[in-house]
């Protein structure tokens, strides 16, 4: 049994960096193997507080060196099940970082940890001296953990071996999370965390619609509601859907009415337009409807300067928060862009015409391949005119009408001229005369700045007026 060492533990040390000069031992990181894994296990298979070490102890490691490192936590308790594993694992970063002299970066197979000289000076010689207090922290932070033990692996061959097993587990977990859809669950989760500042905010988190703040997925909601039934996240029994395409559920409407103090009684999950989700104020990104192109643009929080609609993020966000339903604007979380139900009632990605560049890059994997080049960024369009030109050039679905993939229904008609002016008529006549009757759609787009539909609209008027036959 090693001597107990008094560690400095506080949230203030989260974010502390251990520099090279202060380095005692480096674990994992870009130069070697490293991983972390948290597993649930039956109570009788866990010896609470136990720290098992496979490989050298800190005192046996040459100061300043980098070692392969793995840590496997096993947690047990009445309420613990497989779903909670990644929730527990995600707390590693914060809880390990609370220890002064211990740095933890990244996650899973990517972890990069350092111990500083100050820990050596304090008298740390064994892993147990660090991880015993960590186990205590875990149990204080997550009271549903009744028993917790950890295995520390510093033997390089054993790290390799266990890392391979861990990778399989990560893959299985991810597949489960990605593969889980609203149809497959019976319960959604509500969150009232933001009611402190947005009193009518009523947030719903479903597998296909993560929270707009980006902080809570369905799994998080589930874990939180389970372990803390009196907390801000609570279960909503899904019940019957009024409309599966827009994502309208009787239960959600009831929740919205109750939590908003009667302000809203309809709230739909997958739409921008009719009774959209409330926006609290912490949304990561904001979507805005541009009637001129009948499409939706999205700007992220860090986007400076005006969007093509002429309004900067701050103004749009300023008008949209406070827990209100604002038609034409919607706060959305970054994870929602990876959802198959992303604005499905409005045409999904087919309706997105503009995104701030940084955001588009960030969510690239979520954007259907064929749509990626068709969505403008600030490099392509700074105002509505240049956006129109861009959309015409790439033949964006909004130009000729958006068909929503979910049920093949056409949800927009495509661009129409509000008024066929004499000016336009003259230009079209001149164009027809010039082209000698051999009309090419690309030339119409380019030379007249009109869509095929708009061009036909003018032709029809000209026919009605008898100018053309």
């Amino acid at each position: 049994m090693a001597d107990e060492v008094k560690l400095d533990i506080s949230p203030m040390y989260e974010g502390e960096r251990i520099r090279k000069e202060d380095l005692w031992i480096e674990m994992g990181g870009p130069k070697t193997d490293g991983f972390e894994l948290s597993l649930s296990a039956p109570m009788d298979e866990i010896q609470d507080g136990k720290v098992t070490v496979i490989g050298p102890e800190p005192s046996e490691i040459k100061p300043g060196s980098t070692i392969a490192f793995g840590m496997i936590f096993k947690a047990g308790g009445d309420k613990i099940e497989k779903d909670l594993e990644s929730i527990i694992e995600r707390r590693n970063h914060a809880l390990l970082s609370y220890v002064s002299g211990l740095m933890h970066l990244n996650q899973r197979y990517d972890i990069w940890m350092r111990m500083g000289n100050n820990l050596q000076k304090k008298g740390v010689t064994k892993w147990e001296q660090i991880f015993k207090p960590i186990i205590e922290l875990y149990k204080a932070e997550m009271p549903f953990i009744e028993k917790l033990e950890v295995t520390i692996i510093t033997d390089p061959a054993k790290v390799k071996e266990e890392l391979a097993k861990a990778l399989d587990i990560y893959i299985t977990r991810d597949a489960r999370a990605k593969g889980l859809h609203d149809e497959e669950v019976d319960v959604f989760y509500g969150c009232t965390l933001c009611q402190a500042f947005a009193p009518t905010s009523a947030c719903v988190v479903s597998p296909d619609r993560p929270s707009l703040c980006g902080a809570i997925t369905w799994f998080d909601g589930r874990a939180a509601a389970k372990v803390d039934p009196e907390g801000p996240q609570f279960a909503i029994t899904k019940g019957e859907a009024t409309d599966l395409v827009t994502g309208e559920y009787v239960s959600i409407n009831e929740m919205a009415e109750k939590r908003s103090g009667g302000e809203y009684n309809v709230m739909k999950l997958y739409t921008f337009f009719d009774a959209p989700h409330t926006s609290c104020g912490c949304f990561e990104t904001i979507g805005f409807y541009m009637p001129e192109v009948d499409g939706i643009g999205i700007a992220d929080r860090d986007f400076k300067g005006p969007a093509p609609n002429g309004i900067p993020f701050s103004t749009m966000a300023g008008q949209t928060g406070g827990g209100k339903q604002i038609v034409g604007f919607l706060g959305m979380g970054v994870l929602y862009y990876f959802s198959p139900k992303f604005l499905q009632a409005d045409g999904g990605w087919n309706r997105i015409v503009w995104m701030s560049k940084a955001l588009k890059e960030r969510v690239k994997a979520g954007i259907p391949e064929e749509m990626y080049p068709k969505i403008a960024t600030e490099d392509d369009a700074k105002d509505i005119d240049s956006l129109k030109k861009f959309l015409l050039k790439v033949n964006h679905p909004v130009v000729n009408g958006v068909v929503r993939p979910v049920d093949g229904q056409k949800v927009t008609e495509g661009w129409k001229l509000e008024e066929v002016t004499d000016d336009i008529k003259e230009k079209v006549i001149a164009f027809i005369e010039e082209s000698g009757g051999d009309i090419d759609v690309a030339a119409v787009n380019e030379k007249l700045g009109l869509t095929e539909g708009q061009f036909m609209q003018v032709i029809e008027v000209l026919q009605d007026e008898g100018v053309l036959e």
């Binding site: 402190a196 103090g261 009637p291 309004i311 038609v327």
Partner: protein, 805 residues
Amino acid sequence: MVTTKGSFAVEDMKNVQINIGAVVKEEEEWDQPMGPYPKPNVATLRDWDFKLANRYKIFYAPADDTCTLCTYGPCDLTGNKKGACGLDMAGYCGKIVLIACLMGCCAHAAHGRHLYHWCLDRFGDMKFDMGDEILVDSPLYQTIMGTKPKTLKEFGDGLSYVEEQVVQLMAATHTGQEGYYGDFESKALHAGMLDLLGMEICDMLQIVAYDMPRGAADAPLIEIGMGTLDQNKGVLIAYGHNLAAGAEAMIYAEANNLWDKVDIGGVCCTAHDLNRIGLAAGNPSIPKNIGMKPKVAGAMGWWRKMVRSGVMDCVMVDEQCVFCDVLEDTQKRKIPLIATTDKIMLGLPDRTNDPVDQIVDDLVNFKMPGVAVLDPKKAGEVGIRTAIAVKPKRSEAKAQNLITDTQFKEYLEKCTGCNQCVFVCPPHTNIGDLIQEAVKGNLEPFSALYETCVGCARCEEVCPQGIPIMDLYEYANRDYIKGQKFKMRSGRGPARDTEIRAVGAPIVLGTIPGVIALVGCSNYPKGTKEAYDMAKEFADRGYIVVTSGCMAMDMSLYTNEEGKTIWEQFGGAFDGRNVCNVGSCVANANIADAAIKVATIFAHRNHRANFDDIADYILSKVGACGVAWGPYSQKAASIATGCNRLGIPVVVSPHSVMYRRSFMGRMDKPEDWMVIDARDGKMQQIEPAPEAMLYIAETKEEAMLEMAKLCLRPSDNSMGRSIKLNHYCDISIKYCGKLPDDWHIFVRDAKDLPITYKDKMMKELEEKHGWKIDWKNKKITEGPLRPADVSFDPTNIPRKIRAKK
């Protein structure tokens, strides 16, 4: 959505009309309806003031028990005796506080009034525009006045309002007017609020007119310290708070390519403002980035040390915080002095209407020790030309002013060890010991205590031997003075709306544990280092640290083990783990503005003419705490009082007992802590958060403990509460060696407990406080004052009760 004639309006976005392609106009007013209290009069917000005063009891410990304010007196007020006019002790204390707050308020408002006329004269009227990222551009103005200024000229309404109110308040201090201390305090709170407004007007005017940064988190690092002033050039010092003349000096130097001949150093807040000039891009009359050129000589507390160090050739003073014997100090050293505003003229001849050549000639040839030149443009030119021309002529005087080795020894020998200097020294430095050590050839103690010396020169005043003790300090610290070269981030101005949006939820929920505003003049014993220590402690802990004025300068004079100043260790954003310098004294308004912006931008409270509503929000939900460290000037008193009215508690240093007043909550009186739950109007007792409004701390350690505690708010969620409590307990253990006595009062639920102390605390709750614990589920089943409830919506204002639809 309504589409009409090619344009459309969006429901709930009434002020934005979109036409094909662009925003055509923002309508003349904004979408907020006019609130209940535009341009509040003296008594308009009295209800709110009394709410504060009922919870935070006014505590007086008068420094002076004799009233000498009128010729009925002097009146002895001890032992509940009334004065001849009928005023009692409490009333007298309240009256003094009101007068002090009015002095502070007037200093800033008059500064603003001067700049108002000057800027309009100099640049003409300009559009008031804070850029795309700051749309709530004058939060105090809008909250108090109920209008939005669109041009600089329109700020005149605000100034007139402040001036009118000040006259009303001052009238109330006449003998035979107000007599009740509570009403004096309500009036002082009014004066404090007016001060915030005056400061905001002043800063907004100069930001626009002088093209200063509008919320630049990455404002440039500039040079600070006596050692940065280039001794190969003529050194012009601009000292005070009003940038007008200093700015003209810079513009003159730029236009005439004189920067290789002259160095400009700012002292006190003028330094901040000179360094902000031209850092944005907007006003073509301002040379771009000219603010990078002057240096910051240092804070006001360093003045006497600076003048004795021989680093300057010419001084321009403008207004506020200028030592009254500045002329004596400069005259003795043949440093020409130019008084540039009518607030400080020091008996000097008014040469405003004389030709520049003549004035410069008189100064350079020492025909007169100084002049008053009240035209900033002319004063700037005189300053630059004098500094350059007088430099060679001063070399002899300069050498004579620095004491020699022989003189130093002679002075040491004159000391009789009578210790009179020690009795008057504010930090009680044992100057006799320093001298004894120096006699032995050890100058280290003189060096070690150089920063502790506050530069008041009282020691010299009382020394029967006439030893120039501050000159001894200078002699012993010549190397330090030469090497006093550091970096400071120049003043960034307001918090951007986007920053507020990002930190709004974490602040209100408590996961950013608080906003700490370090303001004031830290020339208090060890105050400079303490400014750095406090900033670092809280920035390291993830708080948003905001600072300004002399505090920002003083904290720049220290580095960490890597040689980095506080500005190089932390970013300059309005965000956790950042330290932002908002700018000069008047830029303090930006700190109050940030709190208002959390309520209005983030939480969508209407702020227009709605002061008490916003203050109520801040008091209940925005964990902010101000700190005025160092001597508590009248300006600091009015700023602190203004913050109090806005619901922001303030911790002040021991010097503040001068006003002998504090606002302290009583934990033992549950009735003081009843608030309304806005959801249904029910009354609810809350934990004492924040516990005090005006707290006097004796030491840095006590101040830090209190600062952490005063960031607690009833709206904290459990994670936020546990984080705030963790810091409160950590600081207590770090500096006091034990947990604070009252931590348990703030616990509503086991989830509120800081995880690192959780088990220990649960045991203590059970054993010491008799709470019931369900150990299996680690839950508290009985004990707390109230349950944790994230949707709890505390308010002190009945009109905030939400009517069910």
